[in-house]
Symmetry: C2
Amino acid sequence: MTLHFEQELNKLKQRLLTMAGLAEAAVNQATQAVLRREPRLAERVKDEDDALDQLEIEIDDAAITLLAQAPLASQLRFITVVMKISRDLERIGDEATTISRRALELCLEPPMDTPPELAALLAAAVQMLDGALNAFIRQAPAEARAIPPQDRAADALHRQIQRSLVRCMLSDSNTITRSLALMTVSKSLERVADHATNIAEDVVYLYEALDIRHVSKEASL
Amino acid sequence: MTLHFEQELNKLKQRLLTMAGLAEAAVNQATQAVLRREPRLAERVKDEDDALDQLEIEIDDAAITLLAQAPLASQLRFITVVMKISRDLERIGDEATTISRRALELCLEPPMDTPPELAALLAAAVQMLDGALNAFIRQAPAEARAIPPQDRAADALHRQIQRSLVRCMLSDSNTITRSLALMTVSKSLERVADHATNIAEDVVYLYEALDIRHVSKEASL
């Protein structure tokens, strides 16, 4: 193993962290566009999504090249985990794009009270994503283990939002189109929390060489 | 490279094909449970989803072990692509679980006409999945290239279903709960088609060493 190889691994990590920053910014902007009715914020998400798509391809290319250099078991885990996290970050970008489209639609409709839990769900999803990425950076599997259980709270917020939007639709059919758009936003944020959970599970696997997928899924049912 | 290594790669492929069969059966059963109002079909999906979760972990374990044996570039691509396809198949199982839950809810509600496009969307998604997997088995990247453009038709069916369900909700608020459940079913089938697209793109990459992700995405917009 050469110094050059270590430097290449580090570059891979840096690219992943760039992706992480972009993905988080995209989710934040898209959801703020909904909450504050600002179409400009929503329009910016497209650029971040394009950059995420491009970075995912670059990371995969670099990872495949590095895998061919017969790395150590721990480096092998690192490279495959980076590829997985990169896929999750790319999907988070797709969710942000979905949210931004709904934001643009909602900006054209009359204003409507959004469920107060929507901001809380955004905060929860972003906090989980931050937590998972910090655990990755700090090589702290114990911190990563704390993330999947938080998914229950995110799911509960999503369900509350769905219920209050259904009530809204039932009491006033004029709100159906807008309520459906807000349901999609909530569902996308709930999926961001799911991706953060995936990332956290990958971080545990990376540093403890242990697969906790579906174990945490079962425990959180 | 030994005969043993080739045998291990073949075992990996066999496991992936087992996953593919289970994922397809799960989507079919879950959606048929909605269409025919048969809760028993929906209940069976849980077993398939558990088996898919387990197989994904086994495939990852085996893949990591094989990656450590410093394979050829083409084998490296094969192993990483198997890991990716396995993740998509596991997600398809999750969509089937979502559909089966909605099926169980719908079976408790009074019957309601389902949009006729729902069966067409199921057929389209399953056909795309079959096409992608056959391209993988037959090592036929040209066949895989034919799949992503089909996603447009699946998206169009999904939008038609959403529109007719919104009309339904607007004309009779008693149908709101059931229409929302059917919207989720349609969204899940649309996601199955997305996963089939991912798999097809991975198959092109595998046999042509070329990344067509986001190119086909752009082209289909």
